[in-house]
């Protein structure tokens, strides 16, 4: 009902996020069936019929109250389970970040993504920087470090296929990372209302195979050094 609608996942941590979504899905589905099932049975069984008076049950004794308190306890246990499983995934995606030799700066502005590579010197805002508009290239199978910035208003960097989303606040540099597993082209929409051109503000993420990536880098900087590597 829900899970099959997820687009293909191509990132390493995307599997963990999908795992949490699936966990929550099965827990909530079980609750939905249990509560709505009970509800439906009661509606049919206790519909008004002549000569059958209602019971007088106030739910003010422990023996009665246990019928709702015990399920609540189960809710609490499952809540904590979701939290503890989730905390690890959250930390992996948003707090820890693996070592990486590819560093990209993405700047959101009304209404484009500006993607900057530091070039062979590994530093931004130098002569060998390369900038792309609405196009972002990354290698497959390698962690990529991102620095997210916004020029004017809040934008949100969203890669549905990589299960990565991060709002970008003007005036700050926000770190993020990704590790794409499968070469291909993926959409990168802005997920935060940013003005009249918000709809359609999107870039393409191009994930290159390892050899292909080296060729692309060579093309861009006409040397063999990879972006991010010190020469």
């Amino acid at each position: 009902m829900f899970l099959s609608w997820l687009p293909e996942n191509v990132s390493t941590f995307g599997r963990d996020i999908d795992g949490i979504i699936a966990l929550i899905y099965y827990i909530t589905l079980a609750w939905f069936i249990a509560t709505m099932g009970t509800f439906a049975v009661f509606l049919v069984r206790y519909r008004r019929r002549a000569g059958r008076p209602a019971g007088y049950i106030k739910g003010d004794r422990w023996r009665e109250v246990a019928w709702v308190l015990l399920p609540c306890l189960l809710v609490l246990v499952l809540d904590l389970w979701i939290d503890f499983k989730g905390a690890r995934v959250w930390a992996k995606v948003k707090i820890e970040s693996p070592a990486s030799d590819v560093h990209i700066r993405v700047t959101g502005k009304q209404f484009n993504w500006v993607v900057t590579y530091p070039g062979p010197d590994g530093r931004f805002d130098t002569a060998d920087d390369k900038t792309f508009l609405d196009e972002m290239h990354v290698p497959a199978g390698k962690p990529v470090r991102l620095t997210l910035e916004a020029k004017d208003v809040i934008h949100s960097f969203f890669l549905p296929n990589l299960r990565l989303k991060q709002d970008i606040l003007p005036g700050r540099s926000i770190p993020a990372w990704l590790d794409a597993m499968k070469p291909g082209q993926y959409e990168l929409p802005c997920a935060h209302l940013c003005g009249v051109g918000h709809s359609g503000m999107k870039a393409t993420l191009i994930v290159h195979e390892a050899t292909d990536w080296d060729a692309w880098v060579g093309e861009q900087w006409s040397g063999s050094a990879r972006p991010g590597e010190k020469t």
């Binding site: 687009p7 739910g59 019928w67 959250w90 948003k94």
Partner: protein, 572 residues
């Protein structure tokens, strides 16, 4: 426990109806003010519904002429999405669920003659009317109405150049400020009335649950709105006098607004939800002829949920750029809030156990509330979990989720209350056949509009885009947008059925007896509609709890809260 002394009330005397102006415009009678709120809420619902119609048309068939509206396109779309949200939450849900239900029911259910401050009450209403007018006028000023989303995040909302909207957004902020003032005054009035004017014998443990819910909602609003009023003034100053509270280039911080907004925004959800939940809790016992299961537990669940709602706000901000280490604590508090609400849902289901359930119109809406609210509550867990929210935040899954929670409150809870108290409010019964049509068509079309939006959200469709076809991921799923839009036509048409029923029944409906549902609470011991001053010579005296149905050994299956001769007269 304190009671209003009957002599004091007698000195003020029951209100006398005096002329058109005093009766309908400068009215201080709580029942007339309740009707004013209801009418204002319904009028604004027509506006908000009209905007949603244009919005959904644009989503299904982008950039085509909308019949009866005109061309939408991205600029107008942002105006629609902003004002639909603003109007529905602040100018429909609050006027109907708090303004109308609260004003009508609090004095009648606690045995008072009016609210504690009748003129303040009139002032609250007219301030709200002014706020509504300001929202409507904002559509007419040069540059058009606000278009920065109903949450109005700066910097987008802080500078006219970012949206192209100048006065429209300033007026939008002003309308909010007026609305907040109106409901602040209203909240003070509600609380004062509930605490000081309960009838003799009506202790807190005998209060009908909706009064508990109204009181909790009023407290939540009073405690949470202050920071947002401060935020709104800061944003106004950023726009008008060039301060930079939220503008990074002037040393400000955009994230501050989000904290101020959601510190209010999450309790606000419960401000809207609790009165609706209260109405449903009143209706369950009447139509299952059983006491509500676990009265004390439900009261505590309400208070605990209300308290928790103050420490969950950052779940709207997991991926906002705040320190990511803050996310898990807020994720835990957020998911914990499912416990008190689960308790309320379980208690409601338990109330049906061994009941004698009659599927009359108010009960149908109340039962549908329970099913829809449970659905919306469960989908909330996906968003309350921080890692799962990385993906789902800002998608249509969120849109689907909050429409299941808010519409379950405003539409299903709201109509439950309107169908239940209509006879008391207008002295006539609502037509049953049109009511049945209204209920079933609303239930079906609502689910067809909103359930598929979960899917398209999971598929990656983000909110507030004017043209889904611009996205390769979404274009193959466009049929969902078409289905949802077509179903919306049905949802709108169903509400027309209600409007016909609502106005025709007021004129030609079957005259309502004092107590058509054989209910126990105090309001049903007054004539329908109740006269000015509500109770005639003497205030009612309360002898028992609010839900004494099917008490063993009693001669009939309900025992009214009110004791004495007046109670006997309440029999239909």
């Amino acid at each position: 426990m304190s009671h209003a002394s009957p002599t004091v009330t007698a000195v003020r005397g029951p209100h006398e109806a005096t002329g058109f102006f005093r009766t309908y415009l400068y009215a201080t009678d709580h029942k007339m003010i309740a009707r004013q709120y209801l009418l204002l809420g319904l009028i604004m619902a027509v506006v908000g519904g009209y905007l949603s119609y244009a919005m959904r048309w644009q989503l299904a068939w982008p950039d085509t002429e909308v019949p009866g509206f005109g061309f939408v396109g991205p600029e107008t779309y942002n105006v629609l999405v902003t004002n639909h949200g603003t109007i529905m939450v602040f100018f429909v849900a609050m006027p109907i669920l708090l303004g109308s239900f609260g004003n009508f029911l609090i004095p009648l259910m606690i045995g008072a003659r009016d609210m504690a401050f009748p003129r303040l009450n009139a002032l609250s209403f007219w301030l709200l009317a002014l706020g509504s007018a300001v929202v409507l006028v904002s559509f007419l000023v040069p540059g058009g109405a606000a278009s920065a989303g109903w949450t109005g995040y700066p910097p987008l909302s802080a500078k006219a150049e970012y949206t192209g909207v100048d006065w429209g957004l300033t007026l939008w902020l002003l309308a909010h400020a007026i609305e907040f003032a109106a409901f602040l005054l209203g909240g003070v009035n509600f609380l004062t009335t509930i605490v000081t004017m309960r009838a003799p014998g009506l202790g807190f443990g005998r209060l009908p649950l909706i009064i508990w819910q109204q009181a909790t909602a009023a407290i939540l609003f009073l405690l949470s709105v202050g920071p947002l009023i401060a935020g709104a003034i800061m944003l106004l100053m950023d726009r008008i006098v060039g301060t930079g509270f939220f503008l990074p280039e002037r040393g400000g911080e955009p994230l501050l607004w989000q904290h101020l907004f959601w510190f209010f925004g999450h309790p606000e959800v419960y401000v809207v939800l609790l009165p609706a939940l209260g109405a449903v809790l009143e209706i369950f016992p009447v139509f299952s002829r059983k006491p509500i299961f676990g009265y004390t537990l439900v009261v505590w669940a309400t208070i605990v949920a209300g308290a928790l709602s103050f420490i969950v706000w950052a779940h709207h901000m997991f991926v906002s750029g705040m320190d990511p280490r803050l996310a898990m604590p807020f994720s835990i508090t957020t998911i914990l809030i499912s416990v008190p609400f689960a308790l309320a849902v379980f208690a409601m289901i338990a109330s049906l156990y061994r009941g004698s359930i009659a599927f009359e119109l108010p009960m149908l809406w109340a039962l549908a509330f329970l099913a829809m609210f449970t659905t919306g509550g469960l989908t909330g867990i996906f968003l309350g979990s921080a890692p799962s929210d990385i993906y789902l935040n800002g998608t249509y899954f969120v849109v689907a989720h909050f429409h299941y929670t808010l519409i379950s409150a405003v539409i299903f809870g709201g109509y439950a209350g309107i169908y239940y108290w209509f006879p008391k409010m207008f002295g006539r019964m609502l037509g049953t056949r049109l009511g049945q049509l209204h209920f079933w068509s609303t239930l079906v079309s609502f689910n067809v509009v909103f359930f598929p939006l979960h899917w398209i959200g999971i598929a990656g469709m983000v909110r507030r885009i004017a043209n889904p076809l611009q996205y390769d991921m979404i274009a193959p799923h466009q049929w969902i947008n078409v289905v949802s839009t077509v179903a919306l036509f049905g949802l709108v048409a169903s509400q027309l059925v209600f409007f016909v029923n609502f106005f025709v029944s007021q004129l030609r409906g079957r005259p309502a007896p004092a107590n058509p549902w054989e209910a126990t609470t105090l309001e049903w011991t007054t004539p329908s509609p109740p006269p000015h001053g509500n109770w005639g010579e003497a205030l009612p005296v309360v002898g028992r709890g609010p839900y004494e149905y099917s008490v063993p050994g009693a001669t009939r299956d309900w025992l009214p809260q009110r004791t004495g001769a007046a109670a006997a007269e309440a029999r239909p």
